[in-house]
């Protein structure tokens, strides 16, 4: 068996530790100009007038009238404008940029711009559906008719902010007609394609270079396309290098977040107290524009029974449009909301039915060969029974559960079981992404990975270089992987959806194999490879039928908490995790993903609070939007199971998102045990726990 999982020093670690690594805000070019975004101060309405001060020499206003192409950020739907024209759809919507040779000059103009609006009544409730999906599995109708009883609950989740420590930004330059943007991004080709549409220019006139990314978590998947388009328009007009870096508050107020959701689940129960069917409705708040919300919705819906198999399903979902900041990609992509609901639901069902929760869950756990929610097949071995045993053993779950359930002390232990689909949904990889990679060998027999994959800290560089080195039997020092530059690398797809190790890594391995087979020492060689879908995959996007993912990663989280009797503050005491990510390409890197992902997932469940009032976010800086410090995070212990996937490099599946999606239900179930009340909403803050305690 391959020992590729043995950890090596991360290739870029030294530069990062010593402060030498350059992030986008560290770049400087001669003659740099600065841009600042003028934004709406209402949630909904129409711009009536814009009054500009006299502009000093060198200061330029850039707005929708300067857009040569389409005033829309290319994503799935064409509803997200680069700059607002007349209509305002959310607070903080970009209207124009002020660009000038110094921040003083830009700020002075910025302060004197007066915009008046005709305000309209904004919509904040989830009532206006813009996208709706539906699918069924089996025959839910009959199952519900034949049910002994039915049980229905509703679960709600709040916003979550990515809170990467490096705010969004780009620096751009113009040479002749060519726009070059260097940015903190996850998807260089998303930005490139969006800019081409906005500028209505030739592909070769747009060059996107990824700067080292200081954290992303999905937040730098689609949103940078918006900034990139605005900056590109400004470059064309101003014809000077321009820097556009967000301030923390701006970043928190206007960039995409995890969709708040409301999920209703109803189960049909038979004579043996088994679940025969589930009907669910998944509602997510898309914010003002759709962006990627429809994909988030579909991923949530496909996770409708998470790690369990239920034979009859009806799953409906809506993306609701509201006059709030657009929501978007965030590690987990719809799954954290759904898996929270599923895990709480199965827990609550067991309690209602007087069943032992553990038994009840085991009876419904998915097995190899079962049909997935979308009537595809779980083809690969599922190790969950052993993983669950392991998790119970390392955490002392059963003993603690018995103890805490019978004691007055406010302590609890919660467990979640979950899966995560790896890669794009259905035929997305084959039909839309069509990933390509290029490997180049030079005369010195060094091999260069020319791919668009982005290392945003998750270790893509080290792991993909290891894959190439292992296949080529070369030392890591002979493998090179520079930050992607669209003038050099082909489109390997965005770095999202836990697809990079599995899909791009798979292509890198194939390309390396080919170089190896035709190895000619001292001679340059170039190999291109494109994605090929596994033959077994069949997917009908219209009916959500077939294999939604080529593979699934699996996980178990156990979280132990204590709740302070006076303040109801939750203290996370310990976290244990067991994961099956196929084959780890580097244990330190995978466990690092696990530590960080679980921290985000658990914090989503009890700590991180974001709300808006009249469309304006209340927690818009790092003081008020609280993420865990080292003191808040408990010790974590992680065990990895080997379960190699035939189509992944050395058996690797996805690891990045899996580690986040089970944290919230695990902590919420632990809190339930500690306070002996039912939690149906996250974050389970002390304020919410107080309501539960008072509702006797």
């Amino acid at each position: 068996m391959s020992t590729i999982n043995k950890s090596v020093p991360k290739v870029e670690a030294k530069d990062k530790i010593s402060g030498k690594m350059k992030y986008v805000s560290d770049y400087h070019v001669e003659g740099l100009h600065y841009a600042k975004t003028v934004r709406s101060t209402i949630a909904k309405g129409v711009i009536q007038s814009i009054e500009l001060p006299p502009l000093p020499e060198g200061v330029t206003i850039v707005d929708y009238q300067d857009i040569p192409g389409k005033n829309v950020v290319k994503m799935i739907y064409e509803d997200w404008p680069v700059f607002a024209e007349k209509n305002i759809s959310h607070y903080g919507e970009p209207i124009m940029l002020v660009v000038g040779p110094s921040k003083e000059m830009v700020q002075a103009v910025f302060d004197k711009i007066k915009i008046t609006y005709q305000e309209e009544t904004p919509i904040f409730d989830m009532v206006q559906s813009k996208v709706d999906y539906h699918f069924t599995k089996g025959d839910p109708q009959t199952a519900f008719q034949e049910a002994k009883k039915t049980i229905k609950y509703t679960y709600e989740t709040g916003y979550q902010e990515q809170a990467y420590i490096e705010p969004q930004g780009f620096i751009g330059t113009l040479e002749d007609e060519k726009v070059t943007l260097i940015g903190s991004i996850q998807a260089p080709y998303y930005v490139k394609n969006a800019v081409i549409d906005t500028l209505s220019c030739k592909p070769e006139d747009v060059r996107i270079i990824q700067a080292t990314v200081g954290g992303a978590f999905g937040g730098k998947e689609e949103f940078p396309s918006l900034i990139g388009c605005q900056l590109a328009v400004a470059l064309k007009k101003v014809k000077k290098p321009i820097k556009l870096i967000y301030e923390r508050e701006e970043d928190m107020e206007v960039t995409t977040k995890r969709h708040p959701s409301k999920i209703t689940m109803e189960a049909a129960i038979d004579e043996e107290n088994n679940i025969t069917a589930i009907k669910s409705h998944v509602g997510i708040d898309g914010g003002a524009f759709l962006g990627l919300s429809s994909v988030v919705l579909s991923r949530a819906m496909i996770a409708a029974t998470s790690a369990y198999t239920i034979n009859h399903l009806q799953v409906d979902g809506d993306v609701y449009i509201t006059n709030t900041v657009p929501n978007g990609a965030f590690r987990g992509f719809g799954a954290p909301q759904m898996i929270f609901a599923v895990e709480m639901f199965i827990n609550h069902l067991a309690k209602d039915l007087n069943e032992d929760v553990h038994d009840f869950r085991l009876r419904h756990l998915a097995k190899q060969g079962d049909k997935t929610t979308t009537s595809g097949t779980f083809r690969d071995p599922i190790l969950m029974p052993e993983m669950i045993k392991k998790a119970c053993q390392i955490s002392g779950y059963h003993k603690k559960k018995a103890l805490y359930e019978s004691s007055e002390k406010m302590k609890g232990i919660g467990m979640s079981w979950f899966l995560h689909g790896c890669g794009f949904t259905g035929s997305g990889e084959a039909d839309h992404i069509k990933a390509k990679v290029k490997l180049r060998k030079d005369e010195a027999d060094h091999v260069y990975l020319e791919i668009a994959a982005v290392d945003m800290g998750q270790g893509a560089k080290t792991t993909l270089m290891k894959v190439a080195a292992e296949v080529l039997e070369l030392p890591l020092e002979a493998i090179h992987f520079a930050n992607p530059d669209t003038d050099i690398v082909p489109d390997s797809g965005p770095t999202v959806a836990s697809r990079t190790a599995m899909v791009v890594g798979g292509l890198v391995a194939r390309a390396a194999q080919e170089i190896n087979e035709n190895w000619q020492s001292g001679k340059p060689q170039i190999v291109h490879k494109s994605y090929k879908q596994p033959d077994y995959m069949e997917w009908d996007q219209a009916t959500f039928n077939g294999d939604a993912y080529p593979a699934y990663s699996w996980g178990v989280n156990v979280v132990e908490v204590s709740v302070d009797p006076a303040s109801l503050e939750v203290r996370v005491e310990h976290i244990w995790s067991v994961y099956d990510v196929g084959k780890s390409l580097d244990d330190n890197i995978v466990i690092g993903q696990a530590d960080g992902g679980t921290a985000q997932g658990v914090a989503y469940g009890y700590l991180e609070v974001m709300n808006h009032r009249n469309g304006k976010l209340l927690q818009k800086n790092m003081t008020d939007y609280v993420i865990p410090t080292a003191v808040d995070m408990a010790k974590t212990e992680t065990v990895l199971f080997d379960n190699p996937f035939a189509y992944g490099p050395y058996g690797a599946k996805g690891a990045g998102e899996l580690t986040l999606v089970g944290g919230a239900p695990a902590v919420a179930i632990a809190i339930e045990m500690a306070i002996n009340k039912r939690v149906s909403k996250i974050p389970a803050t002390p304020e919410y726990l107080m309501e539960l305690m008072n509702n006797d």
Binding site: Q107, A566, V609, M690
Partner: protein
Amino acid sequence: MVRHRIPVTLEEALEHLNETTYKIIAGGTDLMVQNRAWSELPPKFDAPLLFCFNLEALKYVKEENAFIKIGSMTDLETLLHHPLTPEILRKVIYEMASPAIRKVSTLSGNIGNASPAADSLLALYALDAKVEIKSQKETRLSTVSELILGPRKTALKQNEIITEIIIPKSSFTQTCFVKVGGRRADAISKVAFVGCASVENNVIKDIRMTINAVAARLIRRQDIEKGLCEKTPDEVKQNVNAILEAYSTSIQPIDDQRSNKDYRKYTANNLIKAFLNTL
């Protein structure tokens, strides 16, 4: 054009304060945040600044008779580790901000900022701390609680500077500090509580309780405290509801981005109760 000053001596500082309107800045951990501008631009102050943090004459901790005296530019990190720092004040400082912030923030800044959620004030109110205030012509003393008029409002005059924090030495048989914030470290209080008491021969001789973030100013109800003295702990515990009732006129919290009024009131009551139950 504003002209900021970096005085070298206290006398020089006082002289400047007499000349024109200056804003005193100590560590700046409140002022620099409140007045921050677009990054890379100077902060937006509407008055010239008088930088006092490095006035060596105001950096000390000493014991004088029945008092601990703290120079107003002593940073919180120094106080955290100083042997003369009163125990309850140390407990509070330990949970304030982070090591990096404590190194450049001061008690006089926490007082001068007059935030309803200020933490050190819990200890300073409970310890009957006073401040020495100087102008070029005058030196006066004020209790910390009298100096603070409301959110961001103090009774300091334009030409005055806090030079010293004076804390009467006291001893308690028990002290307690509970801070409830959004997380377990580096958080702003949703509500926080200090309790100090001396119980001798099963009789309460001295008791002090302060609560922040539940009213425009910190709460300390000496009238209620007096009523508890000379009682036995058991008598007090039996009377908890009446005591909470008495506090309820002062506990008037608000909803904000960090918490809500119901939770603040609920928790403040629980913290008072929990402390009284430990007597």
